[in-house]
Symmetry: C4
Subunit: 369 residues, 4 copies
């Protein structure tokens, strides 16, 4: 371990972010056209390893469908605007119109509206009709309340996503979600997280999860570190969770649980670094919030931003960077690493001589000083 | 030791600040409601481990009372405005009105006004009448002069606070304060500091102190490092002083001296990091100066700012961030980590699976690169 | 190796940029006049170790000639404006006139114009007539298509330059360039790159190259790191490639392949650091784009800036810093390290007591913290 | 040694600046009044360890006298404005009036005026008449030309100061200054530098120098690093030169050569750090240029700024920070660490429990991360 002595009684691990890491080509190069970005989880194969973050600024039923058609996986936030409001268009307008001083209180008020079970069913049905894989997400707190609705409505993949999700939640006053039982009963692949350590991820893998989200929501619009003092530098977290994947693969006699980087992906180069440090796929927020099809009208915010008593996220302006197709597959007409994300990943892999995502996890990396 | 070779003749210790440290959740989570923030020192138990810094921008008799009612400990600066002026309201207005070029000379003039023993007695009496624990502070230089006044007026806890306080002050021209004797005679729990090394803290503990303040006044409004070249990165200092706590606990056969982080606490995440690296409680300045009840009118300054010949602190604008209750317990309507401080600490501990402050000192931490 | 553990499954090398490195004089000093900057590659000796980057903002046929007369080597980009347009003057004006929002699309359009073989021949002929050594560059992708034109037109040195060039390019759909065969047939010294590791460079050296370009185009106007996640800190890359030079020198029984730093040279101090870490010569872009003779009209851009689907470079404003002679040999009338580049190198070598470039590769260096 | 591997062929030393270092008080404190700042070199004892840098913005004959009366040592630049111009007042006005674009050319022109031997004699005489110790400086290049003038005029201490001065200067075209012979003949204590390594300093000590200047002119107004790639982080350089002091003390059987930090002293905290890492005294530039008696009219520049062909320094605005007495001894009315320099040093030493400069070289230091 990469240990640091803070003082006489306390040691720490040193952690690296995706920004800290760069890949370094070596003796072989390859044609970008020969690179495959295919990613298979359970019975589902996707052309690209991109999952949209279940955030209201990123995903509507329509954009989940559009992303599915572009080869990625759209995940709808089942406790967001689309399941609280019959027609959230006016709400999106309102959010886009808030001043900086109004926005946190405004979001707190807007998200005080109750979630409707019938809207969950209706939104999932809209996606199903399009023919793309259907995926929705709930926080651990809401999963107990709404999972039967979700099961009845039918999903192909289910995501349980919170700042931190553990396999062992302790509570004095209520019966906590038993993840293992729940996943067993649900009978569809479940992706669960965030987690950021070998131990936490290993325990999540043992619940039967098909994938683990790496990260604590440390994205562009989060203040989790300033507020809670919690932070997991992504490159190190991915590598530590990949180590749990390896241990669990052995102890389970061959179950491969996917490692999905969730947070800190602000440029295509960060997606490259996430795969290079061990991720199988990436959950992308702000980069997709820039697509013209994204519902957020150029703004981006997460669940933490509207917490009723302890908001710890911001509404961030991300602007518009082209169609979803351009964002994912180009062509790009700017050089900032925010469009043609898959072209960049493909090009980087080719330049380093790799043709498959799984192999690219072994690429040489450098930490610039 | 985490040693660095500066050159062929000089070695240094590497030190980490609270900003450098983040906590990292692992396999267990917990409900925030199940977390206790109770802190006991000597015969006093507080609902929260928060002590207000004895600074004129933070504490008036009224805010000391208000903080006591919110579960913290207010400490009145007994050599500040409230003991120099019968009614300091106009002085606070004057300080708030200074331009940047006027302010240091202005503070030097305002604090040239002599301290009145009768005002010390009167202010402490005001606090006592409210029923909250009574605490006041003096610098080591003033302790000899005014401690009898203080003892006569009666305090529950006494704080001796300077940039650096040692158990062994050497002077050629006067009899220095004998801390050990003084603490023995005073017969109330004494918190003393700043100190930042194992050795310095151990010697302070041996004087009979109930608590040691960690830090050299390195807060938001200080220029001690630029002026004196003195600096102690807080996370390392806390851990080193916690190591003295452990040694003294053993050598004294069980006296537990409290380690209190004093300085560098600009966000709730810093409070989390202070406990995580070994602090029992925190002494908070600028964060409380933002409460609407704070006397500083949106400004914050410390004792160093008005030194007659070598000022080494600034008047900093901190603005207003809600009522004292909101600052401590929320609800927050902004995401900057400066309100709902205790909610954030509670939430962070719960996310990491801890329910008691003392246990949380063992949480895993990471140093992002 | 200077290894870093990113996490439990991934290690990285720590890399240093030229900015990170400073040379440190020691016991001997020397007169600057006694320093030689002569550099010999194959049959060509140059008064200075400066090669101009084959970028349209830096090199026209006229500036290639001017640089040759100043003691350096000008390399014309054979797939740039001068071989796409009969008279590119108006195109340069257009590029200089683009707004920031227009520029990437504008460059994409301008460089969509086909390359003309006859213009390649004509431009090389112009340079030849001046009597200076003739050098041109192609990307690996274009080399197959145009190298016969180049050979027929005649060059003294040939440069194959791409973001990454490897000795082993793999393609499923076309016959890739066989570098070794190509270099053997070409029968003039070939400089090839970028490369940044010992292995990659060693394989390039084995193809018969006379020089290897170190770097991945990480200059002032590049966003390769943000886009592709690819980055090679230059000081470390130079040293690693110099290690390949040493290995190949031994295995080949004495062939000395030149190590040429290409990228990250923004000040004369960076040129010093490049030689100090092992480079034989430097390929300079933005610093020469500032010469009044440079064709770019105060702007600088590279090949990556106009990629049709994944641009990853910018047009950067560099302004004008004096004549080519002043930029190279002074006198300077500003202190920013961008004029009198050779005077600075000479002065630095003298101050450290060295009189030859090759010896200066051994100078002591420091990494300021 | 604190070694870093840049790449496979190159190692570096890691170096620390004064900014990187902080002192850390421990178990004992002391009254500031009990601290002595006395510094003795050869037959001269000064109340403070402050030498003024021989720069035209800092020293005139009048300020050299004033500094002597305040307990420091003023050194006049014998190849500056005061020995080129009969009355330089108008020249100072002109320099203060230059725009940023004019200033380098303007300085080059102003310093093209020849040095007059008779003015050297006259200026030294002015200082001598005041009764303070007389000190002047020349660069190594000018020492041969003017040292007889200096000897005839009479100095108490002589300074030979260049960016880098070595004991062994090699030249093909002229007889270089033989430092050892020269110092022997001169028969007054000579302070010489800059140097920054153990070896370089040891060789300078063997020439008979009474003091060695540490640093390469890396002050506030220098661009030596950007231009020449030369840089010596001061804390490490001081410690390395202090190691030479120790070795030479032994090999010479007791000659103590003083280590004088020259450069990087922007705040009183930097002076503290210089002593703490091994310096006996400090040569101060920009901090003294702020005194109202300084001739520079609020501007500061060094010799490098007017080099005829390769200027590598700037004219920096430093403003005015009070009288020379206030700058050195206070009282201060601002908290920025630029006034009451000696009060700050005294206070810092007292806080750390030291009463003599020599002992303070042993104080504990920390490198904040």
């Amino acid at each position: 371990m990469n240990e640091v002595e803070i003082g006489l009684t306390k040691r720490a691990t040193r952690g690296y972010s995706l920004d800290d890491v760069a890949v370094i080509p070596s003796r072989r190069t390859r044609d970008p056209e020969d690179v495959s970005l295919a990613w298979t989880i359970d019975a589902f194969t996707f052309d690209t390893p991109v999952i949209a973050a279940p955030m209201d600024s990123v995903m509507s039923p329509a954009t989940a469908i559009a992303l599915g058609k572009q080869g990625g996986l759209g995940v709808l936030n089942l406790e967001g605007l689309w399941t609280r409001y019959e027609d959230p268009s006016a709400v999106y307008q309102e959010i886009a119109g808030f001043t900086e001083t109004e926005v946190t209180r405004g979001l707190q008020r807007i998200y005080a509206e109750p979630i409707k079970a019938e809207l969950i069913a209706q939104r999932l049905q809209e996606i199903r009709e399009s023919g793309v894989p259907v995926a929705g997400s709930l926080s651990p707190q809401r999963t107990k309340e709404f999972h039967e609705t979700v099961v009845k409505a039918g999903v192909d993949l289910f995501v349980i996503r919170g700042t931190t999700v553990s396999a062992e939640h302790v509570s004095q006053n209520r019966e906590p979600l038993n993840l293992k039982e729940f996943i067993y009963e649900l009978d569809v692949p479940v992706i669960v997280g965030g987690a950021a350590t070998h131990t936490a991820a290993l325990h999540l893998m043992r619940t039967g999860a098909a994938g683990v989200l790496v990260g604590f929501g440390g994205g562009a619009a989060s203040s989790t570190r300033a507020s809670l003092g919690i932070h997991a530098p992504m490159a190190s977290a991915i590598s530590d969770v990949a180590s749990a994947r390896r241990e669990y693969l052995d102890e389970s006699g061959g179950r491969y649980v996917h490692v999905i980087a969730d947070g800190g992906l602000g440029r295509s180069g960060d997606i490259v670094a996430a795969i290079a440090t061990g991720a199988d796929a990436v959950m992308v927020g702000s980069l997709l919030a820039r697509a013209s099809e994204a519902p957020g009208l150029g703004w981006h915010w997460g669940q933490e931003a509207h917490h009723a008593t302890m908001p710890r996220g911001y509404r961030a302006f991300v602007g518009e960077g082209g169609s979803l197709e351009e964002v994912l597959h180009g062509p790009a007409h700017s050089a900032d690493g925010r469009t043609n994300l898959m072209g960049a990943l493909r090009h980087s892999m080719a330049t380093c001589g790799y043709s498959e995502l799984k192999e690219f996890q072994r690429v040489d990396v450098v930490i610039p000083s």
